[in-house]
């Protein structure tokens, strides 16, 4: 599974990335996590609010810092 956190360096985006990493590690999920900071790259996903969360090229959340429970739920749904 490939998880991308989209965001050009705002504090919300950094928090989300940290949380995703925590959740993935804690639940030993087999996933590669990348942070996408390039704005042109971000725009390809058609989002207008950051942070964006993308799992296997599908945008699953925009504009909010999800909590651990929500992140885990989205990952499970994508599996």
């Amino acid at each position: 599974m490939h998880i991308k956190v989209l965001g050009s360096g705002c504090s919300k985006c950094i928090t989300l990335e940290k949380k995703v990493r925590e959740i993935v590690e804690k639940n030993s999920i087999d996933a590669v996590i990348t942070k996408v900071t390039d704005i042109q790259e971000i725009m390809k996903y058609g989002i207008m609010m950051t942070p964006g969360l993308v799992i296997d090229e599908k945008v699953v959340s925009v504009g909010s810092v999800l909590n651990g429970e929500q992140i885990l739920k989205l990952i499970k749904e994508a599996e």
């Binding site: 704005i39 725009m43 390809k44 058609g46 207008m48 950051t50 599908k58 945008v59």
Partner: protein, 337 residues
């Protein structure tokens, strides 16, 4: 829980009673329990602080909650759809009004700008949105309401809208698309991948609580700091201290206040209690309003963020047009009030 709306509905009467009896309670605490001297400056400063902090935080909690629910009905995507292909002026009016209610964070200014411009929202209309969204926000409205009353709050919203509409309209008329970074019109934004799930009213109530948590945890420090400065000045600074250089007679004070306000960066929570002190100490309303709008509405960090998509001439035009708008509003209020 089945019906989450019950929680806030049950809390509301408690809120109302607390709010109504806050001042007598604070007075009782300060004068009777602590037993401070009613006439001393220190007592007044402390009383002011103990009263204003819970008052403003209570107002903030209530309004941020309500706005959080209202905002759950809006999204940048819906706003963009509403604005696509709108003509100037009508588009400017709509964009400015939607700027108040659409969820917006200045850190998302770039993706929002790109999303709008690429789907065919005119540049001037996009600017109306970008001016209104940070300037007229719930925190500003709450603080104005709490510290100055509803008339000033309404005045602020009305003039903020006016500036956003006309600044956007002028930028649209000037046809400045050529000053947008060329790559902006070349990239192809993808279609939005998130299908909007069905949102229940419970989810909206949750959104309200989340908004309260996020915003109050972020701004309470500024509220306390601002009110502390206010409390200090309240008792000790002479009442006409500001009159000579920020009063009505000092015409130059309006442009000066805007010039000083632009590079200053603060959110509404930090600046409004300070503006309250300025006003109380003899600064003119128009001058104070102009200062506040310049600080909240035009900020250096935001313009630096926008540099990624706009060239310098467009940034200067943007700051210039909005700045002039704020100055006009400042003069107007000094003249009328």
């Amino acid at each position: 829980m089945k019906n989450k709306i019950l929680i806030p509905l049950l809390l509301l009467p408690v809120w109302v009673v607390l709010y109504m009896y806050l001042e007598p309670m604070v007075n009782f605490l300060v004068y009777n329990i602590i037993g401070m001297d009613k006439t001393s400056h220190l007592t007044e400063a402390i009383r002011f602080f103990i009263f204003e902090v819970p008052k403003v935080l209570m107002l903030l909690t209530l309004i941020v909650f309500v706005v959080g629910i209202i905002r759950s009905y809006f999204s940048p995507e819906k706003t963009r759809k509403a604005l696509e292909g709108k003509t100037l002026f009508v588009g400017n009016v709509m964009a400015s009004s939607l700027g108040i209610v659409t969820p917006f964070c200045s850190c998302s200014a770039i993706p929002l700008f790109l999303g709008f411009v690429e789907s065919g929202v005119p540049l001037g209309v996009t600017f109306s949105f970008l001016i209104a969204a940070p300037m007229i926000n719930e925190v500003a409205i709450v603080l104005l309401l709490g510290l100055f009353g509803w008339k000033t709050a309404l005045l602020y919203v009305a003039t903020g809208l006016f500036i956003a509409i006309f600044a956007g309209w002028i930028i649209g008329k000037l046809k400045l698309e050529k000053w947008v970074e060329p790559w902006v019109y070349e990239i192809k934004a993808g279609n939005l991948g998130v299908e909007s799930a069905k949102i229940t009213f419970n989810d909206r109530v949750d959104a309200g609580f989340t908004a309260v948590r996020e915003i109050v945890s972020k701004v309470w420090v500024y509220v306390m700091l601002g009110i502390a400065v206010g409390a200090g000045a309240h008792g000790y600074v002479p009442a006409d201290f500001m009159a000579s250089f920020m009063g009505k007679d000092a015409w130059y004070s309006v442009p000066l206040a805007v010039l000083i306000g632009i590079p200053l960066y603060s959110n509404a929570a930090g600046i409004i209690p300070i503006v309250q002190v300025l006003l109380e100490k003899g600064a003119a309303l128009g001058t104070s309003l102009a200062f506040m709008m310049a600080v909240i509405g035009l900020s250096l960090p935001e313009t630096i963020i926008l540099k990624k998509v706009l060239t310098y001439p467009l940034i200067f035009t943007f700051v210039g047009v909005v700045g002039v708008g704020i100055i006009i509003v400042g003069f107007l209020f000094n003249l009328v009030f």
